[in-house]
Amino acid sequence: MGDGEALVADVTTDREERVWQAGGEEPMPIRELPDAPASLHIVGPAMVLVALGVGLGETFLWPRLVLLFGPNIRWLFLVGVTLQAIVMLEMARYAMATGESIFFGAARIARPIMWFFFVIAALVYVWPGHVAAGALALEQITGIPYLISAIVGLILIGAVFSLAKFVYNLLENLLTFLIGVLVVGSTIIAAIVGNLADLGSTFVGLVAFGYFPKEALTAAFFPLVVGAIAFAGPSGMQQMWYTLWLRDKGAGMGVHVPRIRGLVHQDETETMPSRGFMFDTEDPEQMQKWKNWRRWVMFDALILFWGITMLVTIIYTVLAQAAAAIDPSVQQAIRGGDEEASIAAMAGAFSQAGGAAVGVLFFLFIAIVGWKGSLGIFDAFSRGQADMTYYFIPGGRRFNISQLYFMYLWSVIIFGILILLFGPADGPTAILDILAFLSAFAMGAYCILLILTNNMLLPKKIRPNIAISIVLGFGAVFYLGMLIYSLVRFGVVI
């Protein structure tokens, strides 16, 4: 297997066993890689990532940029999402080869890197911005004050996960259903109000490489462009959490690590191993299985992730263009940047075109996007923090990982309710802006992390090729560069 291989005494079995020494933490014992599944791809961790990733970036920020600068600005979206597809494949490489989260990988490189992400997550993902934005849309349809539905929405998130037997399965089913309704519904609206010309210009804009209008380089708009790129596809740490879902689903070596169980099924929880595992890369049979797993995840990254993220954004861009054509005040509202006013204006335009129902439908989808955003993020945040707490905070292993997960989940829900009741008076949009800045920062940082983990911690035969590392390096420069440029040149973050 290479330089990192060693023989150590296994105290639990009283015999020597082969291990893979990766970085500074406990070595990984060699175990068997399971067979990759047949391709029933439509449901799986990639779908969870897509469902979580498709949010306000696709439904609001990018349509807004198109209305501001024309469809040609969308080449930046193509670059952003393609980069994210490669990041996804590399996240999967580490998680499937080791059964460890990328956070554990970060700790193997140097623990402070892992703590950096622990702190970023705690700063960024405890805010109830998504659920509040969704609740505002719901208020437009039903008249129910947003505070009430947002708080009920938060409690509902905690309740459904607590009652589930396996949290991941429930998350997958719920998100599949919500995103299914969302995609079917948005397609129907776009099919009713959109037209081929708008769609054509959207497609052409995707390949207008290098187009960058002067206005986009101003203090008023450049931070907006940076934020929109950060929100293209899964933003912030969502890609890192994807490694936890892969593990819980049992992808690759994740099969050797137990799953997170619901709060009412804690008595059945298995013991968590103290580190991940590695397979024998010198065994041709194991390497064939590895290739099959790579093929499995490649389909997810290219067809499900890349294709669907593109599709949803195209649909919402067509919707925004149609809305602006129907009612010019939409353009003004969107230009003004007030998200709530823009959503109301777009819904108004759709009501004019396709009857009030279409406007209501639009609001409902914004509400779904918001709620499922918080649902997925709170689950993922709790997973990530529980993972790091269990392995790296002294005393963390007095609890099992499921208990830690629920401690974080309910803490973040209670915090969310307190913020909604007593928090920033200027509403959820402001929270999302801060989130956008830290998101872009985390994304630049994880590109660097992936170069390190996948080139330093994995056996040579399963490391990425040089081209992939270069693309990841470009990603780091892309995210961090834009962020720093915005800060230095305009004195503004996102």
Partner: protein
């Protein structure tokens, strides 16, 4: 001993998920029309004119699936199916709305451009359809598999995948036990 279920029953059972997703799409549009305060006639027409053709075509998808010509959960075959089917359903919807509201039936001005646009939108419908279909159908086939051999075949396919992804995970999730999984030298 109970009699073997009729072919009709078996076929209907197999087509039910596709029918439900199609009708569900119509219901989403119609239900929201009602919520939007539109007249009953509009609500009914929207529900039916979208729901019925999509349900019929959803049933068609399930029939092809049952024949074994396309792969369970496969994205590409479903897309090939919906690229012509979805535009037809939308065309039907437009025509029925015209008739229902007593307008002269005029096919959308630029028919080719309309159909092309709908065909592209069908990609979105395919993905949403598949996701909802997988959600509904998985549970339904589990229910009818005892007397429905095709449903039993589907369940078998799902189970073999689950065995790889989860079943074996349950057995293997005993870390540090070294049972048959390590290769000490």
């Amino acid at each position: 001993m109970s009699a073997a279920p009729s072919t009709l029953r078996i076929s209907t059972e197999l087509m039910l998920p596709g029918i439900l997703v199609g009708l569900g799409t119509g219901l989403i549009a119609g239900g929201l029309a009602a919520l939007g305060g539109l007249p009953f006639a509009y609500v009914a027409l929207t529900t039916l004119a979208l729901g019925v053709p999509l349900a019929v075509m959803g049933a068609g998808y399930d029939a092809i699936l049952a024949s074994g010509r396309i792969r369970l959960g496969g994205v590409a075959p479903a897309m090939l199916y919906w690229i012509p089917a979805f535009p037809l359903a939308r065309l039907f919807h437009e025509v029925v709305l015209d008739i229902g509201f007593g307008r002269a039936v005029v096919l959308p001005e630029a028919l080719m451009s309309f159909l092309t646009f709908q065909a592209i939108m069908s990609v979105g419908y395919t993905i949403g359809f598949l996701w909802l279909h997988e959600n509904v159908a998985g549970l339904w086939w589990l229910r009818v598999r005892d007397h429905n051999p095709v449903a039993a075949r589907y369940v078998g396919q799902y189970t073999s995948q689950a065995a790889v992804m989860q079943g074996s995970k349950e057995q293997k999730a005993r870390p540090n036990d070294g049972v048959g999984t390590s290769k000490p030298k």
